[in-house]
């Protein structure tokens, strides 16, 4: 089980979701991210789980408002294993 670095997380966001985000944009509220919807979250979860081999707490992610919040939650969960 590997912990997920921020760089790798950003790569997954770019490759899997095809969202060309800058590092600074991790902080943006989803209202500012073009066409963000729950499908993106599902794909992100699937890709992160494949990458880390660890289960992501999906239920906690839906209430998050930015990719930074999502990353923090995921990184916390994967590090705890």
């Amino acid at each position: 089980m590997s912990t997920l670095t921020e760089e790798r997380f950003l790569e997954i966001v770019r490759d899997e979701l095809d969202l060309p985000l800058l590092e600074t944009e991790l902080e943006n509220d989803f209202d500012q991210v073009v066409s963000w919807d729950s499908l993106y979250l599902l794909r992100l979860v699937a890709a992160v789980e494949q990458e880390t081999g660890t289960r992501v707490p999906v239920g906690r992610l839906f209430s998050k408002r930015s990719l930074r919040d999502i990353y923090t939650t995921i990184a916390g969960a994967t590090a705890a294993v």
């Binding site: 095809d18 919807d37 729950s38 499908l39 979250l41 599902l42 979860v45 699937a46 999906v58 239920g59 839906f62």
Partner: protein, 648 residues
């Protein structure tokens, strides 16, 4: 059987240079998208996806490709490729259906079809089926997908439920869907409604702790699904995709977390398989069904190499591997019994191959199961073209199965219209690979389908008669053609519809018609729908053509003439048009109007109408309209016996 004799080249002497296939089709697609040239280069997409489909990670790669492709607007693709075929699809569902877009985009693009999709609201399927103003009732729509999942039933149950309540819910849901399907068919004139059977999951069955109720749930559930499947028998334009075999292929129905949090009850893997079925259903409805299966022999139909191992050394029974090949032969024979023409393309000498097909005791497939046996040392792309020319069928109606990566790669690269089934060294997997795509799916089989192979085989006897005749007139005189022209009744509806969907080359205006349209027109007092049935001394040709006419104050309009190319140039078309025109004259139906509308395939009948004395009356040079004043209808050719009737 004709043997093609060319200077034999040993296979070991080095294969000819092969056109390159793309090693990274997904990467190529992504780079075209990044360079913003994907819409312009859309013709590249189908071959790239064909390449991508053979990879180990095909399922997920197709979804990725679909995401890239679904970002293109259909309008942008059409701007660069005006002739591109578009499929209009509307989706409604009980749960989230957006995840269907990428796999459906990719699966249709594999077939060169561009998806134009409209999604309904979350949990909107009942309202949208009810509301004739919804996306499901859009004009010109091809498919209305209503995606059902288990929650469509379970959401209707009270907080705490007993088996009786579930039984009531399934019965009520089936009745509701039956009513809605009926409403759909009578209010939506073009599209096919696509439903699906609903998976039963352990998380549902095991909420009941008593085994008796659990069994009753299983029964009620299957009766619900069986009732859904029956809807497709009741309505021509309702199709039901059976999820059981899709789920049996393995993998979860969905992810409980995605179902709970995102209301995505059907997982990506299952939706991907569903999308593949939908794409083949589209092919079926659009008349793009494949007609010919060309098979390799060595290590495809039998274990071993005939040229090296000899007839006694090849296996198709008794050994472990031999049995796997025998099983594959049985499936090919099964497919061949349903109207798909089987042919052989093999790098072998013709005589030993024919000998094995005739006499090898373990063979399941026999020489009589094939309409062409091309065993020679020419490249296989040339052989496929030769088979297509001899059968008078478009090469885009071919499927080619071979275990050699060289041969499958050659065909994929040089004739991309051919669907390629890439077999490998594991014969037990041959069947699954052949059936992975529904290349040969049809709505229903007709009597002609079951006889088709025999019909094509007697053509060889006709060819011999032609070869032995001094000239074409003598051939026709000896052929003894009889032709029946008569109004279509119920027993011809299925075949006439099939002909309108399958015929490409001898189809004057290419109006495709589903069976219910044919039935409606055949019963209308303002229309005349005629079928052509022919026979000759070698046997029955079956129902070989149809004429669609409409009557008005201006005269009689031939909306379309279609014919099987197999019987072209035997005077049949002249006799049929002559008889119709004589009838129009005698019955005072007025002048006869007709048109030609070009497609990629029907150029050989461009001058059909002028050849029978029709004069140009309008339209454009590309899409001309004609008129016949009936002063002198075309003569009925003397070599042919005609029976024509026009009254129902």
């Amino acid at each position: 059987m004709t043997t093609v004799i060319d200077s034999p080249v040993s296979a070991a002497a080095g294969e000819p240079a092969q056109p390159k296939e793309n090693p990274d089709p997904l990467g190529r697609l992504q780079s075209l998208a990044r360079a913003k040239t994907l819409a312009a280069e859309y013709a590249e997409v189908a071959p790239l996806l064909a390449e991508l489909t053979r990879s180990e990670s095909a399922a997920s790669d197709l979804v990725r490709a679909g995401r890239v492709l679904s970002k293109l607007s259909p309008a942008a693709v059409l701007e660069h490729n005006p002739a591109q075929a578009v499929i209009k699809v509307a989706v409604a569902g009980h749960s989230t259906v957006a995840a269907l877009v990428p796999p459906l985009t990719a699966e249709l693009a594999r077939h060169g079809l561009l998806l134009d999709i409209t999604l309904g609201d979350f949990d909107g399927y009942l309202r949208e089926l009810q509301d004739t103003g919804s996306q499901l009732y859009a004009s010109g729509l091809d498919l209305a997908l209503v995606v059902l999942d288990p929650q469509a039933i379970f959401d209707e149950l009270p907080e705490v439920w007993r088996i009786e309540e579930l039984q009531e819910a399934t019965t009520a849901k089936l009745a509701q869907l039956s009513r809605l399907a009926e409403k759909f068919v009578s209010n939506q004139p073009t599209a096919t409604l696509v439903l699906n059977t609903v998976p039963l999951q352990r998380a549902h069955t095991h909420q009941l702790v008593d085994l008796r109720s659990r069994a009753a749930l299983g029964i009620a559930w299957r009766e619900f699904n069986a009732g859904l499947l029956r809807l497709s028998a009741e309505h021509q334009r309702v199709a039901v995709i059976d999820f059981d075999p899709l789920i049996a292929a393995g993998g979860p129905v969905g992810d409980a977390r995605m179902a709970c949090y995102a209301k995505a009850h059907l997982g990506d893997e299952l939706l991907g398989r569903y999308a593949r079925e939908v794409a083949h259903l589209t092919r079926t409805i659009k008349g793009l069904t494949k007609k010919v299966l060309v098979l390799d022999l060595d290590n495809t139909l039998w274990d071993g190499i005939l040229g090296d191992d000899g007839a006694d050394g090849i296996e198709m029974a008794t050994t472990y591997r031999g049995e796997a090949f025998g099983n594959f032969q049985r499936v090919a024979k099964q497919i061949g019994s349903q109207g798909v023409l089987l042919a052989v393309s093999s790098k072998n000498d013709q005589e030993p191959v024919e000998e094995v097909l005739r006499t090898h005791p373990d063979m399941v497939l026999r020489d009589t199961d094939f309409v062409r046996i091309n065993a020679n040392w020419n490249p296989k792309d040339a052989n496929l073209r030769d088979i297509a020319a001899r059968l008078n069928l478009g090469i885009d109606s071919f499927v080619f199965a071979d275990d050699s990566p060289f041969e499958t790669g050659l065909i994929a690269a040089s004739i991309p219209q051919v669907a390629v089934v890439r077999l490998d060294e594991e014969p037990a997997l041959h069947i699954g690979k052949l059936l992975a795509d529904g290349w040969f799916d049809v709505l229903e089989l007709t009597a002609e389908d079951r006889e088709r192979a025999a019909l094509y085989r007697t053509d060889a006897a006709r060819q011999d008669l032609l070869d032995s005749s001094d000239d074409f007139e003598e051939y026709l005189a000896n052929l003894g053609v009889t032709l029946t022209v008569a109004p279509v009744s119920e027993s011809e509806v299925a075949r006439v519809s099939q002909l309108s969907l399958r015929s490409n080359q001898c189809n004057l205006t290419t109006l495709r018609m589903q069976p219910d349209t044919v039935r409606e027109l055949s019963q209308s007092p303002d229309h005349l729908v005629l079928y052509l049935r022919s026979a000759d001394k070698f046997g029955d040709n079956g129902l070989v053509g149809a004429l669609f006419c409409s009557k008005s104050a201006d005269g009689l309009t031939i909306d379309n003439y279609i014919m099987s190319c197999r019987v072209l140039s035997r005077g049949i078309e002249q006799a049929a048009i002559g008889a119709l025109l004589a009838h129009a004259k005698a019955a005072g139906l007025g002048p006869v109007h007709a048109s030609y509308r070009p497609t990629k395939k029907n150029h050989r009948v461009r001058d059909f109408w002028p050849s029978f004395g029709f004069e140009r009356s309008g339209g454009t040079d590309e899409a001309p309209d004609y008129r016949h004043d009936l002063a002198t209808p075309p003569e009925i050719p003397g070599h042919l016996r005609l029976r024509a009737s026009f009254e129902r």
